[in-house]
Symmetry: C2
Subunit: 344 residues, 2 copies
DNA sequence: TTGTAGGCGTTATCAA
DNA sequence: TTGATAACGCCTACAA
């Protein structure tokens, strides 16, 4: 029953060299710096590579050169669709290029983050992409010591480790809340799931805006990951606590969608009796009925540009401003449109 | 402006050896086979490792041993939440263990799949996890030649490359359609987005069940990726073509949710006038109002067990049956519950 | 229980 | 333009 796993013979640079009648060094050069090799030699080597199906051994390359092609990507979780979008941006930008994104999950634990970074350091990565701007001092030190471009993504803030790309959280939240106020809502609650640092800053933005308008604050949060189900529960709890609530701003679109469903189930009319605004502009926000007002961030772009920034930095041209603000857009849809267009 | 990236000094095994007064081999042994080292020596080595913050260089390990710790994970896309769940299972199972999942996207292209596999082969992976069972002959050959455990996930079928874990697609689809028929729906349509091989088999299951019940077939598909928005459009198109449709079974829950929203927007009552069943049991299916009937697969488990199967195989005990069926469960919710409980 | 020697596949450094 | 040689850091085999 015991199956034996036997590798196929894999060709090495020496095989290529032999097959094309040159030395291993020349074969290596033909692959890395083709312009320093005689055209005819180059052709022979390339032919041999193709014929043998030669693929360089990355371990040997890394060991010899002291640099790998790994781009370390450190995110809290792969399931959260927010990070999934970011990831897709990174992966697409890496494309068929020489870099190889390698993902690790912190599970929202800063202790794990440090361990992960130490592990990445041992790989001599070509670059690092880390989510958020709340790294511990230890983590920042490790990242600085890696000797490679580092991009913090999702948010921007002061004191970048190296480069940053992202959008402002608190301001974006303020804009959403301001819009609700603008539409005439006055008893506006905040619903939040998994209050990670970004969610905290959104909450902060909510508080600022509510306070400056002299309105009452109503905050309901849960440590559970955000989801439609959680949104329904939060909405239910909110209505039990504050039955007169007339609008909610939530942490994430799936929570907002849950709130919407809870309203549907209870016969509460949206947006007439209840305004609902989410965050992130997930696909479901546009597809919902009524459509969900939300804040569009640019996660895919953050991922792809982060990758591009690393590639550029490695090629010698680091952007003049190492901090790139991708901004945000308030996307107003039916779930908060209580006043006729142009009014308010 | 040009910033120089300078690595911190990284300690090697020799540094550890020197610091603990032993040879490099002994230090290496202390780390890999602690029981073959004198307790006191072991303690010294460990102390040195901790003090220096030594982390082994994986490139050197791989080169010397001919095996890496990489587990190649080949999926079509990271954004699709179905694969995101799978991925989370894999990542969680890998956890703090010695293996390092490395993800690559085929973007649903079999040519890319082969290129990716060839690249993985050069890494001497410890194991491979590939989504689906529709690999090309070339891909299968490469996988076989890798000399490591290979698990095909998501579906099961005949002729596994090595091991398999997943659920039957056609049967699961049949069960959902049978349930709709059972509830008295008679003009049942299939809505499908991005018809990958699994979606095709679900469609096949739909056709079988519809045919065996002597009902009319109505199939609407789009090559676009599945989403709530796409679901709304498909539902709209369907109602234009076949206004008398009384139920839909869809490819994926997000499409089903889109269909539900479209019904809401048009004032079509669900489940009274329209039954809606989805697939995958995403969180939003449970949270929707009415709740969406769907088919639960076990994606997270597939991922974590695939990882476990690889670890077991490497440890020498390959499962007796290399094909593991994770089955499926029909999850009946309000969106199709037209008859009183127990009737039908 | 510990150490010595050799090699893994590639690249950097020189020299030709 | 090409090639010889010596790393890179670790592991396997063998020897002590």
């Amino acid at each position: 029953m015991a199956k034996k796993y036997k590798s196929n013979q894999i060709h090495t640079l020496r095989d290529v060299a032999r097959a094309s009648g040159v030395s291993a060094v020349t074969a290596s050069r033909a692959l890395r710096t083709p312009d320093r090799v005689a055209p005819e030699t180059l052709a022979r080597v390339r032919a041999a590579v193709a014929r043998l199906g030669y693929v360089p051994n990355p371990a040997a390359q890394t060991l010899a050169s002291g640099r790998s092609r790994v781009i370390g990507v450190v995110i809290p979780s792969v399931t959260n669709s927010v990070f999934a979008d970011l990831l897709r941006g990174v992966m697409d930008a890496a494309g068929d290029g020489p870099f190889q994104p390698q993902i690790a999950n912190t599970r929202y634990l800063s202790s794990r983050e440090e361990a992960i970074l130490r592990l990445f350091a041992s790989q001599r990565p070509a670059g690092m992409i880390v989510a958020g701007i709340d790294q511990s001092d230890a983590s920042r030190a490790i990242l600085r010591g890696m000797g490679c471009p580092v991009v913090q993504v999702m948010e921007i803030g002061p004191d970048p480790i190296d480069m940053m790309i992202g959008g402002p959280q608190a301001e974006a939240a303020r804009a959403a809340v301001a819009h609700l106020i603008d539409q005439g809502y006055r008893r506006i609650a905040f619903l939040g799931a998994r209050m990670d640092p970004r969610a905290q800053r959104r909450l902060f933005g909510y508080r600022q805006e509510i306070a400056s308008a002299g309105l009452p604050e109503r905050v309901l949060t849960t440590p559970r990951p955000s989801s439609v189900t959680v949104g329904r529960q939060l909405m239910g709890d909110l209505l039990a606590l504050h039955p007169d609530t007339d609008a909610v701003f939530s942490n994430n679109d799936d929570v907002a969608l849950g709130a919407l469903f809870e309203c549907t189930a209870r016969g509460i009319r949206v947006p007439a009796q209840m305004g609902i605004a989410g965050f992130n502009d997930l696909d479901l926000a546009a597809g919902a009925e009524p459509g969900l007002t939300t804040v569009r961030t640019h996660r895919y772009r953050m991922g792809s540009e982060a990758m591009a920034m690393i590639a550029a930095a490695l090629a010698g041209d680091r952007p003049a401003d190492p901090v790139r603000d991708t901004g945000f857009e308030l996307v107003v849809r039916a779930s908060t449109r209580r006043l006729p267009e142009g009014a308010g």
